[in-house]
């Protein structure tokens, strides 16, 4: 079973199987990249596409395109390099730009080289631009780390790296990549480049470093997750312990206040507030316990990934807390013994 795409090829709709679609797309892309220097490049590609459509329609009147059909048609049409001699470099408008063969009159441009990147492709870009060995550059960047006095140089390197990463675009188009290396943009160079593009670039460094980085990354992630959980559970436990302590204090304050061994002034306040005393104790309890309750609910929500703090709970708790604050401050002002 294969997925198909409806594709408009040269003005006719075909049902193209997914692998056939990719093959055809790559083929047409290679042609348009090859003839990009021609002023009538779009026409040329459209003509070739039209011929391909005609052949495909002849091969299968039901307009279903398999990868075999595409390969057959591409085989008849030929790869770009097979009709390269008909499209001599001297034909194109680039003939003026490249008067003698292989000699570039284009200036090199500095790009980040994402194909060979380890982090942002900055070093690889410098290597491509200057022709200096990439490994050499990377080692040179790390050398200042060896001596304590020169470590600051490494920090400067890192900052510069970040700045370049941010400021310099990566070479994405084929012409960018050729320009980065100072190669002239000839049709054959573009074709050569495109044919090598599809092979995945994994430099030796990346082959070695990427698994190590992935491994380190996994460990760090697990540590962070573990720490978060441990922290979350710790905070929740502390908040619950706080709530229990508050409750114990409240019970003690209401049943046998002497056990709290309060100092003279507070004791005086308790006596003076008289029948308001239990209300005051309850308000103080709320002032301490409600935030702890919110913390507990918040942590449980975080750990269970479910929100336990609804808007209603939030509003109730905060109004209650404000009320408690108001009453407590009022009672305190009224009954606290002051030394006038």
């Amino acid at each position: 079973m294969k997925k198909t795409y409806d594709a408009n090829i040269g003005g006719t709709i075909f049902h193209v199987e997914d692998d056939a679609y990719i093959a055809l797309k790559n083929y047409l892309a290679s042609i348009s990249a090859y003839f990009v220097a021609y002023e009538d490049c779009a026409d040329l590609v459209a003509d070739i596409e039209g011929r391909i459509a005609e052949q495909l329609a002849q091969n299968d009147p039901s307009r279903i395109v398999s990868v075999q059909a595409v390969e057959r048609v591409i085989g008849a049409m030929g790869r770009v390099d097979q009709f390269a001699d008909a499209a001599d470099v001297h034909d194109g408008p680039l003939a003026q730009a490249t008067p003698t063969k292989g000699k570039s009159v284009l200036r090199r441009r500095f790009f980040r080289n994402a194909d060979y990147r380890l982090i942002g492709g900055v070093m690889a870009g410098i290597a491509a631009f200057t022709g200096i060995s990439l490994i050499g550059l990377r080692i040179a960047m790390l050398v200042p780390l060896l001596f304590p006095e020169t470590r600051i140089v490494f920090v400067v390197f890192v900052l510069l790296y970040g700045a370049v990463w941010f400021a310099v675009p990566a070479a994405t188009r084929t012409t960018d990549k050729l320009q980065m290396r100072g190669q002239s943009i000839t049709l054959s160079a573009v074709d050569e480049h495109l044919r090598h593009r599809n092979t995945q670039i994994l430099t030796r460094t990346r082959k070695f470093v990427v698994p190590v980085l992935t491994w380190v990354g996994t460990i760090i992630r697990r540590l962070v997750i573990g720490a978060t959980w441990a922290g979350g559970i710790g905070v929740t436990a502390a908040a619950i312990a706080g709530l229990i302590t508050c409750a114990l204090f409240l019970i003690t304050a209401l049943l046998n206040v002497k056990l709290l061994r309060l100092s003279g002034e507070l004791a005086g306040f308790i006596i003076r507030s008289g029948r308001w005393y239990p209300a005051f104790a309850l308000c103080v309890y709320f002032l301490a316990a409600l935030p702890l309750l919110l913390v507990t609910l918040g942590m449980i929500s975080f750990l269970r990934r479910r929100d336990f703090i609804t808007i209603r709970i939030g509003i109730t708790v905060s109004s209650l807390w404000l009320l408690a604050l108001f009453v407590a401050v009022g009672l305190f002002v009224l009954y606290f013994p002051t030394n006038i």
């Binding site: 070739i48 008849a76 049409m77 030929g78 097979q82 001699d85 499209a87 001599d88 034909d91």
Partner: protein, 120 residues
């Protein structure tokens, strides 16, 4: 041709010749009446002149840019409209010159071959 080109001449000459001959053949096919790419391909294939079909597209493009050819869109009953190529006045002149040159070439080459064959 400047001396700097001699190092690549061996390789280039063959492709230059083939290209020249193919351009001549394309003009010849179109001279027989308006033709679209598949007609031209069919004619060239029947005479074993091309290996891959893609070859003619850059050539057509070149001939068009040189204003030897022009095209008109013609409706087709079988699918999308087709591009029918025909010779321009300049194209007919060039074809005339090419034909004369071709005759001269073949005459010289054939007479040389006859001489050579007599020796053998």
């Amino acid at each position: 041709m400047s001396p700097s080109h001699t190092d690549v001449r061996g390789e280039n000459l063959q492709s230059q010749m083939r290209k020249g001959i193919l351009e001549y053949c394309i003009l010849l096919v179109i001279a027989g009446g308006p033709a679209y790419a598949s007609d031209i391909l069919a004619a060239l294939k029947s005479s074993d002149l091309i290996i891959v079909e893609g070859t003619i597209y850059p050539l057509l493009s070149r001939l068009k840019r040189a204003e030897y050819l022009e095209y008109t869109w013609v409706e087709s009953t079988l699918g999308p409209p087709r591009k029918y190529y025909q010779l321009t006045a300049m194209g007919r002149d060039v074809l005339q010159q090419m034909t004369e040159q071709w005759k001269a070439f073949t005459t010289s080459v054939n007479s040389l071959r006859r001489l050579h064959e007599k020796d053998v």
